[in-house]
Amino acid sequence: MLAARVREAVERLPELYRVAFVLRDLEEVPTEDVAVIPGVEPAAVRQRVHRARLMLRGFLSDLAGVRP
């Protein structure tokens, strides 16, 4: 149940954020390498991962019943 809801949260992320988050944070691909795939600057990858983490963190806090 928890796994399904967390997975749903990841799948609900905008694609740009989800791809960056999965590669950088889950697959632990270095930021500079993640940046090459869509052809963007590393700063853009960091921003996408940042936004993904904020969105996921908010969702996880809701699940736990606490304010982010």
Binding site: V22, Q47, V49
Partner: protein
């Protein structure tokens, strides 16, 4: 910049964690966090988010996808 707000610190957090903020900004961020329990708690949960997602789900690349990615990155680094 000698001081930073919580919101400004959050905006720079990923850059800070990856070590790409200038040294003077880094010092300002660290000074802020050392005196801001709310930011310290935020950073802890922010850093834990990938681990929690990883443990709670199997959201990863397929084996084939991971292999393809590795091969791509090897070619990239050698080019």
């Amino acid at each position: 910049m000698t001081r930073i707000t919580c919101a400004e610190g959050v905006d720079r957090l990923m850059d800070y964690l990856e070590g790409v903020v200038p040294a003077d900004i880094r010092t300002v961020v660290e000074a802020h966090v050392s005196g801001c329990p709310r930011c310290a708690a935020f950073i802890a949960s922010y850093c834990e988010t990938p681990r929690i997602v990883r443990q709670a789900t199997d959201v990863t690349l397929s084996t084939d996808g991971r292999q393809t990615l590795r091969e791509f990155l090897v070619k990239l680094r050698s080019s």
